[in-house]
Structure formats: structure tokens, C-alpha cells
């Protein structure tokens, strides 16, 4: 039970105004009734304010408590960034604005679809009747035709600090602006690049924490060494096919810390991987639910390595094909499915047949026989995989660099689960 009910009542009274036609006792009684029903105190507060304020006073929400798919959202916040963008709406070109809004509780992205709203960076604004949506796990505020925005005095809000957001690698896809990460350097190398005709040294490599790994590019020599644990404050993230890339330069604060960081090799649930679209050197587990056509013994063009059909390359015409072995799998853990590409050596290990054996089977019984063999050995098996996962809105594909069939003791696991359930009931 909430023990500071009276401070909530104070809040409510101050929001609906002293002259509201309701007794404090009445408010408290209603408030407690909500709590008895398990309604969170903040929600109970909002409901009562709405009920008794008769629309006299608008309640502004903190950005940190805004949820997706809400309508009639009222905010008092600062415009952190704002950018114009040309889009086509039903064939008509239209100018919209997008950017970030901030208050003392956080920063969230917004899009303004309304032509009548003008915003300037740094403005403190009262926003009424906005609505919210969600994109990739992040709440976004939208301004529509019903939304009104009013510029108010700057001192209504404290200056929004642009503090870099503390983040884990797995959450980088939900971060905007600068981030603050504590990571272990897994490898690093020096590279020379050409920037506007000028030679510059950059330091590239991979880093990670207990939630995942990312590539990095440092535009300044921070003397990073493999195995160092560093806190990087003020880096930016970009993504390529779901693979996070952290970039930082001399404006960032990079400092070695003595803390130990364990880089995770724990399997990621597939729905999380697919939501992030991809990942660098990830581990996953799932069941093989399909071995696709195109798996097994295949022939490639000796010139361009393209798959050839009936001894013909699309580009090079009739060629003498070079044999190869691979598996194209669909692996699904019940929460999501991904494509998996397994190369020659790993396929040999997975099916327990060498490339030469497969080649012989293909020449004696036809290519279909090798595909049948793969299906016989792999379908319905649980596999543990590791590799880079690349994804877009059409799905995620993992390029296996490690693949094993997981041995399951079904009877033992079933018995343990059963005993656990009997114990609970």
C-alpha cells in the first residue's frame, strides 16, 4: 500500500485548484478505492484530476511516463532538435518536421504532420492533443491536425541537459543522440583513411558488454588496446543491417576503468534478434523447421562463384562447375524465425558426411538425394548457432561461423519440469 497518500492528495488538490467542488476527504476516499483495485497511484492521480478539474487546468505529462498508442497527450517540453523533411502524402509533396523533445525525465522523438505548426530548436512549448505510437520498441510523439503547440516562457522548464544516455549494447537501437557505454575492447586495429583529400588515422575494431557486441570507429588515438575496459561517453551509434556501429572522436570522453566486463555468449531469444534486425557475432538457439531448396551439393561458376544451373552461369554461360556444399535453414524458437546460411565445413560437421561423400551421392543418386540427407539429419533438431546476423524489414539471416546440434535429454528435462510444476501447485 502507498503510505504517502496525503502527498498525492496534495498534488491532486494543487492541480484541480483549491476552489474545486470536492472535499479532500472525498478525494482521499476515491484515491484509496483505486489503490485497492491495484491501480498505480500515478494513474489514480491522473484519473481524479481529470474527473474533478472539469477541463479547467491541463495536466502535462512527463516524457518518461508517456506510453505508445495514447491520444490527447499534453506535454510541456523543450524542442531539442527539429529538422524538416519532404514526404509524399497521397502523391502530394508535403513538408513535415521531425526531431527530439526533452524534459527533465528524458528525450523522445517526435514527428509533426501538421502544416500549421512551427517549431524552433530550444523553444519551450505546451503541446496539447498529441498522440503516440511505437517504433521498434521506442515511444514516438506525433502531432496531427488536432494538435496545438504554444510557445511559452523559457523558465517554465529547466534547461534540458544533453547528457549522453547510459546504454547497454543490446539497447543501442533505442538510443538517440549521444550514448554512454562501458565496454571491453575485443580487438582494435589502425587504419589510414582519406578525408577530403587529407590522410587521417582511424582506429577500428569490436567491443562488447554482457548484452552484445558492436563495431567501433575512433577518430582519435585513445590508445585503446585489446582487453581494455573503457567507459565511452559521447559516442554515436549507426546501424548497418542491424549491426551496431559506435563512432566517437576527440569530443568524446574515453577513460579506462578497472571494472571487469564479461562479454556475453548467451543465446539471444530470436524475437529480440529480429526486433533489433541483426547483431554482431551473436549466439542463438532454435529448431530447424525447414531445410530450403538450394541446400546440399551445389555447383558454382569457377569465375564468379555464382550458383550455376544445368552447367550454365548467368554471366559466363557454359562453364565447368565447381562443387560446393551448403545448408540454407529456417531456424525458429517459437518466438521468431530466421534464415541461416551454413557453409561447407560446418555443413559437413552438422550432417556427419564429408564433402567428397556428398559429391559421390550427388553423382550416383542425384542432387536431390543430398538434400534429402540434409533434411533427414537436420529437420526438427535443436541447433546452437553463432555468427553475424544481418537483417532488414524482410527478415534476419545469420551467417553461421559455428553450428552444433544440441543434445537434449527429453525425458530428464520433462521429469524436472513436471516436478517443478507439482511443487508449485
Amino acid at each position: 500500500m502507498v503510505d504517502d497518500v496525503s502527498s498525492y492528495i496534495d498534488d491532486i488538490v494543487s492541480m484541480i485548484g483549491e476552489d474545486a467542488e470536492v472535499e479532500r476527504e472525498e478525494l482521499e476516499k476515491e484515491f484509496r478505492r483505486f489503490l485497492e483495485y491495484g491501480v498505480p497511484p500515478d494513474q489514480a492521480k491522473r484519473t481524479l484530476v481529470k474527473k474533478f478539474s472539469n477541463g479547467k487546468k491541463v495536466e502535462f505529462r512527463k516524457l518518461s511516463e508517456v506510453k505508445p498508442n495514447e491520444s490527447n497527450v499534453n506535454l510541456l517540453c523543450r524542442v531539442v532538435t527539429v529538422n524538416p523533411k519532404e514526404v509524399k502524402v497521397r502523391g502530394e509533396p508535403r513538408k513535415i518536421f521531425y526531431g527530439l523533445l526533452g524534459d527533465e525525465t528524458g528525450v523522445i522523438p517526435f514527428t509533426s504532420w501538421s502544416s500549421s505548426i512551427s517549431l524552433e530548436k530550444g523553444d519551450v512549448v505546451e503541446i496539447s492533443n498529441a498522440y503516440t505510437k511505437e517504433w521498434q520498441g521506442v515511444v514516438q510523439v506525433n502531432f496531427g491536425e488536432r494538435t496545438s503547440v504554444k510557445k511559452v516562457e523559457d523558465d517554465r522548464l529547466p534547461e534540458v541537459s544533453h547528457e549522453p544516455k547510459p546504454c547497454k549494447i543490446a539497447d543501442l537501437h533505442t538510443a538517440f543522440g549521444e550514448v554512454d557505454v562501458t565496454v571491453k575492447i575485443l580487438d582494435v586495429s589502425e587504419k589510414e583513411v582519406d578525408v577530403n583529400g587529407e590522410k587521417k588515422k582511424v582506429y577500428v575494431g569490436t567491443l562488447g558488454d554482457e548484452t552484445g557486441k558492436a563495431q567501433f570507429t575512433a577518430w582519435h588515438d585513445f590508445k585503446l588496446k585489446k582487453g581494455d575496459v573503457v567507459r565511452v561517453v559521447g559516442g554515436y551509434t549507426r546501424f548497418w543491417k542491424g549491426i551496431p556501429q559506435l563512432t566517437f572522436d576527440d569530443r568524446a570522453n574515453v577513460e579506462k576503468v578497472s571494472k571487469e566486463v564479461e562479454v556475453s555468449y548467451k543465446p539471444v531469444p530470436l524475437h529480440k534478434l529480429v526486433e533489433r534486425r541483426g547483431g554482431l557475432d551473436v549466439s542463438v538457439e532454435g529448431t530447424v523447421i525447414e531445410v530450403r531448396e538450394g541446400s546440399g551439393f551445389i555447383e558454382r561458376c569457377p569465375e564468379c562463384k555464382r550458383l550455376i544451373q544445368n552447367g550454365e552461369c548467368k554471366v559466363h554461360g557454359k562453364v565447368k562447375g565447381v562443387g560446393d556444399l551448403r545448408a540454407k535453414l529456417v531456424v525458429d524458437d517459437g518466438t521468431a524465425g530466421i534464415g541461416v546460411i551454413v557453409g561447407r565445413e560446418l555443413t559437413e560437421q552438422l550432417i556427419g558426411k564429408t564433402f567428397e561423400e556428398c559429391k559421390r551421392i550427388a553423382s550416383e543418386e542425384g542432387g536431390e538425394a543430398v538434400l534429402r540427407l540434409l533434411r533427414e539429419r537436420l529437420l526438427t533438431k535443436r541447433v546452437a548457432l553463432r555468427g553475424n546476423a544481418l537483417g532488414d524489414e524482410f527478415g534476419t539471416t545469420l551467417i553461421a561461423r559455428d553450428a552444433k546440434v544440441v543434445d537434449l535429454d527429453v525425458r530428464k528435462e520433462a521429469l524436472e519440469l513436471l516436478q517443478k510444476m507439482e511443487g508449485e501447485s
Binding site: 476515491e30 478505492r33 483495485y37 491495484g38 491501480v39 498505480p40 494513474q43 506510453k67 505508445p68 498508442n69 511505437e134 520498441g137 531469444p269 524475437h271 529480429v274 526486433e275 529448431t287 523447421i289 525447414e290 529456417v330 525458429d332 517459437g334 518466438t335 521468431a336 524465425g337 530466421i338 534464415g339 533434411r375 529437420l379 526438427t380 533438431k381 535443436r382 524489414e393 524482410f394 527478415g395 534476419t396 537434449l408 527429453v410 525425458r411 528435462e413 520433462a414 521429469l415 519440469l417 513436471l418 516436478q419 510444476m421 507439482e422 511443487g423 501447485s425
Partner: protein
């Protein structure tokens, strides 16, 4: 459009489904929502193919049944899946099969929904594959039971809070739909279903000592169930179109010999069970 998840669901849960979300247009898929919130467009089944029957000339429509430890899936395959139809007809029954298929529904009349599966692939497998699938499906089902319980705890079930707890977006959305659609949902039925399936995997366990269910707890449960029955009966007796006033219910129940605390507890318990709800604060109505 990304590949849809191949759900692991027992026939006993799938066949109970009657909620359908229709996709509009070709690019938006349709879903069957099960009572435990599985939001199924595609599913993966391993079980025993028990019979295959041609329903139309030239095998234009074939019906087959695949059984798991909890029930039977109905499969319909037609002329648009000639390879799968052919595979089904060639397999000698009974046989263990692995099936990936799409959820299909048939609604002969308003409010009546039959679910089936349109197979996309069918392969013969061995008994180990069936056991692995059964175990995996037990685990998935338990996850969904957990998710539904979490959803019911929320004052306003919503997908956002559920995804923050770690459930997949699909499951979170499915659970919210299921809670709103299936009133009086009996989660315990599916706990029993999972136990049944697990027992199936460990038949030799028969003589083994398993922790006994606490008898007293059971009696207590029964007692509180009796109270719930009494309170529910009283609400039904005094409610109007708009429901019954909280205070009136308490008064009537106290006249019937219950103390205030027990009555309030019982009303809450009835709400948890979905037998009553509160259309307006302070007013209770039966569902």
C-alpha cells in the same frame, strides 16, 4: 514482410481458439488468437499422421489428421500445394510427421469458428522428433500461461508493458487480445494439458514419489470457491442492467452471514476470474 513465427501450440489449445484477426489485403496476414494469446499465422507441429483422405476428385482437396498428446490437428491441403498434397498421400499412416503450416479458419455461421492447418511442408520424422517437439511445446505453453497471468495482473492489459517484461511483441499483442476476447478464461485447464503432455514423455515415472498437493490448501480453495459462488449468486440476484452497487452487495452478503472483509475479497476474486467486472467505479456487474 518478415517471415512469421512458427508457433509451438498443442492441438488442445489450438482447437479452443475462436478469435480471428483478419488481415486486410494480401500483405497483411490473418491470425488466429488462442486462449493463451498465441497470435498464430504459421505453426510448427510434430505428431502422428493418423489418416489422409481425398475429399475431391484428382486430389484437389485432401484432409489429414495429426495427433499430439493433447488432441488432433485437422489439415486441409488443396490443388495450390500440389507437392505437399502429394507428400501427404504418399506417406503410409500411421507415421510421425513434422508439419509447417498456416492457420486457417472456417466459420459456418456467426460466432462459430473451426480452426485448421494448411500445410506448407510435411516431412516424415522419427519418434524422437515428436518427443523433442512435445517438450518444447510444453515450455512454450508454460511461457504463455505466465504471460496471460502477468497480463491479468495489469490494471489495463497492454502490449507495451508486456513487451517490457521480455515477452515477444506478437505474444504481448496476442495476450491482450485473448484477455479481452475470452471472458472466463480457464488458465488451469492448460496447466493440466501441459502436465498431461509431460507425463506422456515420462511414462516410467508412474511409481515415483512426487510431492503431494497440500490437502489443506485444497480445502481452503474449495471454501473460498463456495464463498465466491454465494457472492456471485447474490450479485446476480440484485443486479440491474447497470449492475449492482458495491455497498448493496456487501450489505446483502452480510445479511447472508459473511463478514465485510470476506465479501470484498470475494468480489476481487470474482473480478480476477473474469466473472464480474466494474463498468463504473463502485458498481459491479456479472459478465
Amino acid at each position: 514482410m518478415r517471415r512469421s513465427t512458427a508457433w509451438r501450440v498443442f492441438a488442445g489449445e489450438y482447437n479452443d481458439a475462436s478469435a480471428v484477426v483478419k488481415g486486410d489485403g494480401e500483405r497483411v496476414p490473418s491470425y488466429v488468437i488462442t486462449p493463451l494469446g498465441a497470435k498464430i499465422n504459421r505453426l510448427f507441429i510434430v505428431g502422428v499422421l493418423t489418416d489422409v483422405e481425398s475429399l475431391a476428385e484428382n486430389n484437389e482437396l485432401v484432409r489429414a489428421h495429426v495427433s499430439d498428446p493433447t488432441g488432433v490437428f485437422a489439415l486441409y491441403s488443396g490443388q495450390f500445394q500440389p507437392d505437399v498434397t502429394k507428400s501427404l498421400l504418399e506417406i503410409e499412416v500411421p507415421a510421425f510427421v513434422a508439419v509447417v503450416g498456416k492457420a486457417r479458419t472456417f466459420e459456418p455461421e456467426e460466432g462459430m469458428v473451426y480452426v485448421s492447418v494448411r500445410p506448407e511442408s510435411v516431412y516424415e520424422v522419427n519418434p524422437d522428433a515428436r518427443d523433442r517437439w512435445t517438450l518444447e511445446t510444453c515450455k512454450s505453453t508454460l511461457d504463455r500461461i505466465e504471460a496471460v497471468k502477468e497480463g491479468l495482473k495489469l490494471s489495463q492489459p497492454n502490449a507495451y508493458d508486456l513487451t517490457k517484461m521480455g515477452y515477444s511483441r506478437d505474444l504481448a499483442e496476442g495476450v491482450v487480445k485473448a484477455i479481452n476476447f475470452y471472458r472466463n478464461m480457464d488458465v488451469e485447464k492448460y496447466v493440466a494439458l501441459v502436465k498431461e503432455a509431460l507425463n506422456y514423455l515420462v511414462p516410467e515415472k508412474g511409481g515415483e514419489e512426487l510431492p503431494k498437493v497440500d490437502v489443506k490448501t485444497e480445502e481452503e480453495n474449495k471454501e473460498s470457491d463456495d464463498v465466491d459462488d454465494t457472492v456471485l449468486a447474490i450479485i446476480k440476484e440484485i443486479e440491474s442492467e447497470e449492475g449492482a452497487l458495491w455497498d448493496d452487495i456487501v450489505e446483502k452478503c452480510m445479511e447472508a452471514g459473511l463478514d465485510r472483509e470476506t465479501v470484498e475479497e470475494s468480489i476481487n476474486s470474482l473480478m480476477d476470474k473474469g466473472l464480474v467486472y466494474e463498468p463504473v467505479l463502485g458498481t459491479i456487474k456479472t459478465t
